[in-house]
């Protein structure tokens, strides 16, 4: 008799999801699926609204990374106005995005995955959470909480509030930052840096003991995509797209955001509200690619800041390959990016441009279509708008970072299930490993239910036994 194990809901991720693991008669794992169960319909209800409202509306897609949406949306707006925004505005936006990378990565590492990494996959589920971590390792947890707080306070200092600040707008930003605030942040940087480096050290000891997890938590070749600077360095805001394969081969480089559709298509399946983006030239489902911290570090040549670059080199050495294909390393990549962000914040706080009061460019609607792209903590995010001559949205498509990891997450779930589950014994701790594998991607599923595209669609014919009989892609 076949059997299905359902993990519902998947917890300690940013969103609503469940996992089905399908077992064969002999108890072996036949397949596993990662289902996203939320749908909100932004693509539809934003139609008919002015594009300048989009940053604030699309921010409400996600409470974890609203800044990514605000920035991608504002950039799409810049392009509709066809303006180059004032340099100070660009730098302030960068500063805010760095704040977001710090807070979001800290959240993922300490609050969400920390309990797995530092309390253990098999620890008491009732205590396997941030409160449990506080109880077990108060100083370590406090450091993580304060690191996240630091990121949130950068956002608040710029945007007036920590979550959903209405700040970045088409043409620039609404307010600057005072010298006093900058000074205050400078003072707090050393502590943040210290927490990060300690976390890095802690993680490495975990990593040393996680050989099995490294080889089973999404360890497979795939493409990687992310933005890079014109020089090919790590980029988090602006920049152009680069795609590398698992061997490090560059398949596409310096592709502008508005050509994203040449690179990526989207498929949908009956069993998830989350779509399945894939690398267009390879088709669905072969065009599997990963985005986010690990992908960004894989596609770039180097970060461009000394401490982060040193760590990047070490990570590549530890993985034994230029291209790190084990998703367990997402945690490592996240810490490296926090480090990079702190280094860049240090630089930016001293930038004289930041004091400028010229923050916003104004223009009428000059383009009727635009794509704005930002590197969200979880990967590349695209906002694609079409407007009428007055500026009312007539079409809206959002390619969400997490969606682009959908194929990889499904493959990861199946891999972990096959590795750990044999059917004769099903323990909670084993199932938690399946979830932990997903948590490595830090999926943000609030974001993830909104993608639409002119993409190909997959149709799965499922037989009476639940088996996929046929699979067609167009």
């Amino acid at each position: 008799m076949t059997q299905t194990i359902v993990i519902d809901p998947v917890t300690r991720i940013e969103g609503h999801a469940k996992i089905s693991i399908y077992l064969d008669n002999d108890g072996s794992v036949r397949d596993a699926q990662f289902h996203v169960t939320e749908f909100r319909g932004f693509e539809r209800f934003c139609i008919g609204r002015p594009f300048w409202e989009m940053p604030a509306i699309t921010a409400r897609i996600c409470g974890i990374c609203p800044i990514s949406h605000i920035l991608a949306s504002a950039k799409a707006g810049d392009a509709l106005l066809a303006v180059e925004i004032p340099p100070a505005a660009d730098k302030l936006r960068r500063l805010m995005n760095l704040g977001q990378i710090i807070q979001s990565h800290a959240l993922s590492f300490f609050h969400l995955s920390g309990p797995d990494l530092f309390l253990g996959y098999e620890s008491d589920p009732a205590k396997r959470n941030i409160f449990g971590l506080i109880a077990a390792e108060p100083d370590f947890a406090r450091g993580g909480i304060r690191l996240r707080q630091f990121g949130q306070e950068i956002i608040e200092a710029l945007g007036g509030r920590k979550i959903h600040p209405a700040w970045a707008v088409p043409g620039g930003v609404r307010s600057g930052i005072s010298a006093e605030v900058r000074a205050a942040f400078r003072q707090r940087l050393p502590e943040a840096m210290d927490v990060t480096r300690k976390a890095m050290a802690r993680f490495k000891t975990v990593l040393d003991a996680s050989d099995e997890e490294v080889r089973s938590y999404g360890f497979f070749p795939s493409l990687f995509a992310g933005m890079v600077t014109p020089e090919g360095n790590w980029e988090h805001h602006g920049g152009k797209l680069r795609v590398r394969d698992a061997e490090g081969q560059i398949l596409a480089d310096q592709v502008k955001a508005d050509a994203y559709q040449q690179l990526f298509g989207e498929a949908s399946e009956a069993w998830s509200y989350l779509k399945f983006p894939y690398y267009q030239p390879l088709g669905y489902p072969d065009g599997i690619y990963r985005v986010g911290p690990l992908a960004r570090l894989n596609v770039c040549d180097q970060v461009g800041t000394p401490l982060a670059d040193a760590e990047l080199t070490e990570m590549r050495q530890r993985a034994g390959h230029r291209m790190v294909t084990a998703s367990f390393y997402y945690h490592y990549a996240r810490l490296i990016e926090i480090l990079a962000a702190l280094e860049l914040v240090t630089q930016l706080l001293d930038d004289p441009d930041l004091g400028s009061s010229v923050l916003r460019a104004d223009a009428g609607v000059n383009h009727l279509e635009a794509v704005g792209c930002s590197e969200a903590p979880r990967g590349s995010l695209f906002h694609h708008y079409q407007v009428d001559k007055n500026g009312l949205i007539t079409y809206l498509n959002l390619i969400i970072a997490t969606g682009q990891n959908n194929l990889a997450m499904n493959q990861t779930v199946a891999q972990i299930a096959r590795h750990y589950l044999r059917g004769d014994r099903l323990e909670e701790g084993l199932l938690n490993r399946v979830e932990a594998g997903i948590r490595a991607y830090d999926p943000c599923l609030s974001c993830s239910t909104h993608a639409v595209g002119q993409a190909a669609f997959a149709i799965s014919l499922i037989g009476p036994d639940g088996r996929v009989v046929d699979h067609a892609v167009r």
Binding site: I7, P9, T11, R12, E14, G15, K18, H35, T37, E38, F39, R40, G41, R44, F45, I57, R60, I61, C62, G63, I64, P66, L107, H111, L112, P125, A126, R128, N129, I130, F131, I134, A135, P138, A141, R142, I145, R146, R148, Q149, K162, I163, H164, S268, E269, A270, W271, S272, Y273, K275, N397, N432, S446, V452, G453, A455, A456, F457, A458, R474
Partner: protein, 177 residues
């Protein structure tokens, strides 16, 4: 001292209210001394437990799973707080309401914008059926307190929790958006 059993629930929304809760930062450590987190998206319990003292509910009722969960939340909790505008008013989650039937919205999002042979997410028991109209939670169950805001700021959440822990009535009115 018997710790208060706290649950946090995330329905149709963006998780911003939960993030705001986390923005209490180090006060969370103080809170941990007074409460036991028995159900939450940031904790690992899969079913909503019995005997909850306080349930903070973020998000609106948008699909059949929310509908079922919120009934459990009400039946098993002493006090239910609607946390944030989505739970209190429907807010951005309810922006799809004027468009009518959920099915036609899904159709537009998954099919009309792409390949007409595309498929709708629809597997029974896997992807929950959407409600045609997203509604705030008090339309389904009695709610004890309403804490509006998109999201309510950390300090406002803290003020409410502190008042409740101290057994005094919290200030709640207003503060939409």
């Amino acid at each position: 001292m018997n710790r208060l059993k706290l649950a946090t629930v995330w329905l149709g929304g963006c998780s911003g209210c939960h993030m705001s809760l986390l923005d209490l930062d180090e006060w969370l450590i103080d809170l941990a001394a007074h409460v036991e987190l028995v159900y939450s998206p940031i904790a690992d319990q899969k079913t909503f437990p019995e005997g909850v003292d306080l349930a903070l509910v973020e998000g609106a009722i948008a699909n059949e799973e929310h509908l079922e969960l919120i009934q459990d939340v009400r039946e098993r909790s002493r006090m239910v707080i609607a946390l944030g505008d989505c739970a209190v008013t429907g807010n951005v989650t309810a922006l799809r309401n004027p468009l009518g039937e959920a099915r036609s919205i899904l159709q537009q999002v998954y099919i009309e914008h792409g390949d007409p042979r595309g498929i709708l997410p629809s597997t029974p028991g896997i992807v929950p059926i959407l409600l045609d109209q997203v509604v705030p939670i008090h339309m389904i169950i009695p709610v004890d307190l309403f804490l509006a805001g998109c999201p309510p700021s950390g300090p406002r959440i803290r003020a409410v929790l502190e008042a409740l822990l101290a057994g005094t009535p919290p200030e709640l009115a207003g503060g939409f958006g």
